[in-house]
Point group: C2
Chain length 155, copies 2
């Protein structure tokens, strides 16, 4: 298959190393999930992949995402209302989840690593995964509200 990109090689290798077959669908899903910087949901990945592979099924997307989790290539973000989003940024970091626009910002901070270390020793807890999520209103949305308030007060 000549459509594979250079970056696909490492994906294929990672899959095979664990005994998984590197099917075109899987590679496409992995490629999208790993390159994505906007924390897509399974459904969103599904819709995107379907543009290239119209016959792909949602079940395959879920199955592939499960493999990616197993390979420690993506993290799962569990939001309220049963929403699940995926994040290929695996370094310990803080997620800023805007409750207005739904955007999620990855925030690099030394505190993230600090927490894992300190807490693990304090509570004798072996940490395998961390989810440091702050919910609230992002700067953009906050500004929108400000403008809205101005509009209302001048109306």
């Amino acid at each position: 298959m000549s459509e594979f990109r250079k970056s696909d090689v490492s994906i294929i290798k990672a899959l095979r190393r664990k005994g998984y077959k590197a099917t075109p669908q899987r590679i496409a899903i992995c490629r999208f999930a790993l390159q994505s910087r906007n924390h897509p949901s399974a459904k969103r990945i599904f819709n995107k992949i379907r543009e290239t592979y119209p016959t792909v099924s949602l079940a395959t997307v879920y199955q592939t995402l499960k493999i990616l989790k197993e390979l420690s290539l993506v993290q799962e973000l569990n939001l309220p209302q049963g929403q699940t989003r995926f994040d290929p940024y695996m370094k310990p970091h803080i997620n800023l989840v805007c409750l207005r626009c739904g955007n999620i910002i990855d925030l690099d901070s030394p505190i993230a690593q600090e927490i894992v270390g300190k807490v693990a020793t304090a509570a004798e807890f072996t940490v395998t995964e961390q989810h440091l999520d702050l919910y609230g209103v992002c700067e953009k949305c906050a500004r929108k509200t400000e403008n809205l308030n101005l509009d209302l007060s001048t109306a």
Copy 2:
């Protein structure tokens, strides 16, 4: 209703302050959710309340939990596989979620408050809620594995 306990008074007050009626079912759900220290799921709360109010419906439990969130009396914990658990401990804290036994330990740590403050200013993000969850293996489960290994090696 003579079955109300002293602690119910504050629940009733909190409900009425926001214009919600204090029905027996609501009080029972609130009482259980607020006193619970083991992070129950909606279903678990439902099963417990049904012992006292056999006709209560799951929809009522969800509705009441939504009110409790609105009153800032419980936090929602979103775990993998769409599991949602509830936590009446509202101080910023860290949750240690054991992936083996499913237990969740509340860990008080000054870091929790620190994060909210630092991050908020750094990213101009207005934090309304924080979920600092560390997933892994708790000390008890780790010890069980150790024993298991010993058993296997001596077999």
